[in-house]
């Protein structure tokens, strides 16, 4: 493979990491609080607001059921408003974030709901405020689950990022389509797939390792 092509792959890898990294970060910034709220706002819960909970749930479901490629083109005006342009890697971060935030929120909700309700009652019994319960009990206790959720979200984002070539987002997926498929360069396609597989493996292993490190529940001597 020529140095030019290798350069292309390196550049595309950085584009993918850039898009996925920022989108995962922003997705977490929006998804984590949303997920915590979804997990604590049903009737009788910490931040009980059943109506708001239901409305947010519907919005989250609607976003998650929209196919990603349709989401990308459907929100182009919004993307332009936020990113100043609708083309390129930076612009692609907008739909990636919008797709990942609700996904992360649902994963966070599931992880938080796994925390023993007795612990919430315990903390309330010694006078913890709802926010103290979230930061001192729910998030630390759910941390292994939250790390696994984030890992899953990043892996999904790697898959989504292949589609943002449609709006000139670049990245590995775009490279694979344009060179591997449209220019009949199977070696390019193979290289892209190998890099993606390596990235997914890396992310998953790192996530598993961290989740195991912080999990004190099963540690035995």
């Amino acid at each position: 493979m020529s140095p030019d092509l290798i350069n292309l792959i390196v550049q595309a890898t950085f584009e993918t990491l850039y898009m996925v990294g920022i989108a995962a970060l922003l997705g977490t910034v929006f998804g984590l609080p949303l997920g915590v709220f979804l997990a604590t706002s049903r009737k009788g819960e910490l931040f009980a607001a059943p109506l708001v909970n239901r409305v947010l749930g519907i919005i989250v479901n609607a976003t998650r059921s929209t196919p990603f490629i349709i989401l990308v083109v459907a929100i182009i005006p919004f993307t332009r408003l936020v990113a100043g342009t609708s083309i390129g890697s930076t612009a692609a971060i907008v739909p990636l974030t919008i797709a990942s935030a609700p996904f992360i929120a649902r994963l966070v909700e599931a992880a938080i709901r796994e925390v023993d309700g007795g612990l919430i009652e315990t903390a309330s019994s010694f006078g913890a405020s709802p926010l103290q319960i979230v930061f001192k009990v729910l998030i630390p206790e759910a941390l292994p689950g939250l790390l696994l959720a984030l890992t899953l979200a990043v892996v999904s984002l790697l898959g989504y990022s292949a589609m943002v070539g449609a709006v000139g987002g670049g990245g590995l997926g775009d490279l694979g389509i344009r060179y591997g498929y449209q220019r009949f360069m199977p070696e390019m396609m193979l290289a892209v797939v190998v890099v993606l597989i390596a990235l997914v493996q890396l992310v998953q292993s790192a996530g598993d390792y961290l989740a195991r490190r912080v999990n004190r529940r099963l540690r035995q001597h």
Binding site: E121, S124, E141
Partner: protein, 378 residues
Amino acid sequence: MNAHQSLAIGQPIERFEAISRAAVESEAMVRFAGISKTYPAYRGKPGVNALENIDFAIPRGSITGVIGRSGAGKSSLVRLINGLEKPTTGHVIVDGRDISALAGRELRLAQRSIGMIFQHFNLLSSRTAADNIALPLEIAGWAKADIKTRVAELLALVGIADKHDRYPSELSGGQKQRVGIARALATRPSVLLSDEATSALDPQTTRAILDLLANINRELGVTIVLITHEMSVVRQLAKEVVVLDAGRVVESGHVADIFTHPKHPITQSFLAEVIGDSLPVSLASRIVAEPSAGGQAVIRLQVRGAGAGDTLVVRLARELGLDVSLLSARIDEIGGQHVGSLVLGIPLGSSGRDDAATRTLAFLSQHQFPAEHLGYVA
């Protein structure tokens, strides 16, 4: 709301009486006044009256047992004390404050003076023993250095200073409950609520934990409220007892009084758990309805009170001139009082006539020992 104002609830009373009742009030650490708790109907399930007409006081510095079967309303009762639930009617006064009238920040501040320990310990798995104990102090906004000192003190108090850096998954059940107790005492509460705190522990560990609670009560003067379904817990630790059944208080008072003279069937059934009211199988299978020559009449008598029954069998034998035999006996101590039953065999003589049994029953009733004639053995 202070103790005085709380008296305004209920019927009007004269000032003179109000003062004396206020004095009594100050002796109570926890006071339930006209409490009822109803859970409304929800999703097709009918509403439940969890508690009705609850009126009693838990004396300051006491160890009070609240005993009842599951569903008797024990959990609701304890959750009213620390303000996790609000009564439907009535007031809960804790240390002179109407906790049922507090909300938000005021309630959270009041909750710091009420500690609680749980059946399943409820420790955070992500925190070490020391950090679990530190949690209520962090919540109360203590400075880091103060927390460190206080946690070390508490670990020593509950006897697990060496487990400072252990995670709950590395501790035994008894050690976890010690962490739970240290955590509950961290903010120096005036009341410690124990919600079935020993129900998940083996008998030996239970005993050690109950001893620890007794020490804490003695040394720190903390009022302890023991919610339990186990008579053995009440017997070993409590001085006062409240018997709950179907959301009502059926008996309350000193442990010794309640269990030497149990009135309500539920109290009697709890007592039977400790002293046993069944006969040994080998004896029960031999009892018949008709007397026979050379056989014995079987009489069971109840023993209640300090020193009761100590010399009874000897006196019975001496005064009636009978070779009384002891077929079965079970005597235990509850609140310093002897409680139990004796099963006596009264020889009928060669005639097989029954007047020995009649004389024995007369003697027992004269000395006020409740007794029953169970039958005869050959």
